[in-house]
């Protein structure tokens, strides 16, 4: 009991600081959430913090922003498009990257170092620079404005970082595993599917979240490679088109932000366990 009290007091200041920082961190999101439930006239007239004067005056809250967002962006089609883009654009690069990372870490082949140096170099290429040449190639191949086109684009942009992260993790696996498996007669492919993949699950989960969120939130690549017609436009493109060209109706964006946040939030909370583990994975070599 006394011990507990002592620890509360000794950790008290630390906890206060942490709570304070967390509050500051979360404040903009809280403001966003509150604004999303206020009418446009209220938003224009006063700040979101004024609701705390009468927090239980429910007549001041409204769902009309959400209604309008869901109606205006054609939520069903936009969600479907986003999923059609995001799921393959997450799976394809991670699939390729896990093969590549394994090969870079544990297989001997000529030019391995050289290829790896190129890969690391690709990490720093700004993707804006690649747009015109890549779009030209897509036009030649006839895949500009199609879903496969944007899958390739996201795969290309995602690969260097994903390979690099997975390489760090996979190369940290104990070499005895590989030695004993090959003595038992396992082929490299079997080692990969039976040993490497199951052991790297935390790292795979965390890069999956990274890549998923990146593709989910992407506006620029979708707009340039896919265009903004309702048939193909993902959520981000439709949402950015909600606001007028002078920034009118921005209060709709607050509701739209939570609409587009919903699925990643569920995913993130669901995979959080792996996420924290995965960030540490590969950072310390054993």
């Amino acid at each position: 009991m006394i011990k507990k009290l002592v620890s509360v007091f000794s950790h008290g200041p630390l906890h206060l600081v942490i709570i304070f920082v967390a509050l500051i961190w979360i404040l903009p999101s809280v403001g966003l959430l509150i604004t999303s439930f206020r009418s446009s006239a209220d938003v224009a007239a006063s700040g979101w913090w004024t609701v705390f004067e009468h927090p239980f005056n429910f007549t001041r809250y409204t769902l009309e922003n959400y209604q309008e967002v869901i109606l205006k962006i054609g939520i069903g089609r936009a969600f479907l498009n986003t999923l059609l883009i995001t799921i393959p654009a997450t799976i394809i690069p991670i699939l390729i990257a896990s093969f590549a990372a394994y090969a870079f870490a544990w297989m001997e082949f000529p030019g391995r170092r050289f290829l790896f140096v190129i890969l690391v170099g690709l990490l720093v290429v700004p993707l804006q620079m690649t747009m015109i040449p890549v779009l030209r190639i897509f036009n030649k191949l006839g895949i500009a404005g199609t879903f496969p086109g944007i899958w390739f684009a996201h795969t290309g942009y995602g690969l260097p970082l994903i390979i690099y992260l997975l390489y760090n993790f996979i190369s940290g696996l104990p070499s005895e595993l590989f030695d004993s498996s090959s003595i038992d007669g396992a082929t490299p492919f079997q080692i990969f599917t039976r040993m490497v993949i199951p052991l790297s699950l935390p790292a795979l989960a965390s890069v999956t979240i990274f890549q998923f969120l990146w593709v989910w939130n992407d506006l620029l690549i979708a707009l340039v490679y896919l265009g903004g017609t309702p048939a193909v436009a993902p959520l981000t493109v439709r949402i950015s088109a909600l606001v007028g060209s002078y920034g009118q109706d921005w209060e709709l964006l607050t509701a739209a932000a939570f609409v587009s946040m919903a699925l990643p939030l569920v995913l993130f909370l669901g995979l959080q366990r792996y996420f924290v583990k995965g960030i540490l994975a590969g950072s310390v070599k054993g």
Partner: protein
Amino acid sequence: MFKKISFTLLAMLLIGMLTSSVFAASNTVTILGVWTGAEAEAFNKMVAPFEAETGIKVEFTGTRDLPAVLTTQVEAGNPPDVSALPNPGQMIEFAKAGKLVDLSTFMDMDVLRSDYSPTWLDLGTYKGKLNGVFISADLKSLVWYSPKAFAAGGYTVPATWEEMIALSDKMVANGKTPWALGLESGAASGWAGTDWVEDIMLRTVEPEVYDLWVTHGISWVDDRVQRAFELFGQIALNEKYVYGGTNAVLTINFGDSPDALFTTPPNAYMHRQATFIKSFILDHFPKLVPGEDFDFFPFPPIDPQYGTPALGAADMFAMFNDTPEARKFMQYIVSPEAQGIWVGELGKLSANKRIDPAVYPDDLTRKAAKILSEASTFRFDGSDLMPSAVGGGSFWTGILDYVSGILLMNVLMTIETTALDAYRK
């Protein structure tokens, strides 16, 4: 695990291929525009009769990143069939690169010449080729006020710059603040001030000198440019003239600044802004009646010999791919029928002379249309015509620097330095 993943992937691939092949259908016209939100809805309303009549499907993409998206697509070789352009300067860039279709090859030029005033056609012409057509305009040279507040204070609408300054002084003497001015606009902060300087330039120099200024034919440190800034400063830098003082001028958002006119008692009495600000006022104060609760008068003349010119911005279209569908679309949007729907929805002003004034949503808009059509001189927003390093860069920041108290000569020198670099390219 592997089977599951590959199955999902295959399924997605299939769905993706199927859905993406649908929109590759012909008989469509792809259009890129800057319009989003309510403006995009108005655009869709405008093209609905076209789609119904011709059976051509309009694939419209609206993005506020139009310059970036359009440049990328043009460079990569798959431009939209038709695109809105932010300003005539951009049109000239594309025309120089040979990317635009000469519209006079298929448009009925006689009808165009009778429908449009020569100014509009000239602005869309480059080296004898008609490369762009205008569908609508926004008039910028307006001062908004509340007739009720003016009546209550015993104020009258000024007809000249001197009268306007005298009126401002009178308001100050009565313990009031005459002007609502806000320059904040995110990354584009300062643009609202460039409109002031342009309007003043138009009223203090010949239109030809204004054109020279836009093309950097005269320097930024020129006396005439300096005078325009100083006249702007006469209002913007006067702590007693502007609501909240100069600090507030720098931090209040341009869209929120007219709010000061409609508080009780009014925090300010006058606000210079383009026609589009009406939608902001109505959005923030839905109960106000245009024409009764708020109105505007033309930005008054300064030097009498230059009269009351009109400064404006306009929405223009250019054609990148010469397809039969795109041709039909271009022929449609220059018609008064199409523009009637568009301007009726948004309260913009039509570029077509044959437009029926009844399509305008209210008397206020009809009044603006009258000012625009009767203006002795019309000039395009100068900052939109300058290279973006100046017109979308140092001119904006120069306004902010000037209002924040930096010496005018230093401000103009800074703009001149960037201009020397930007116009060389």
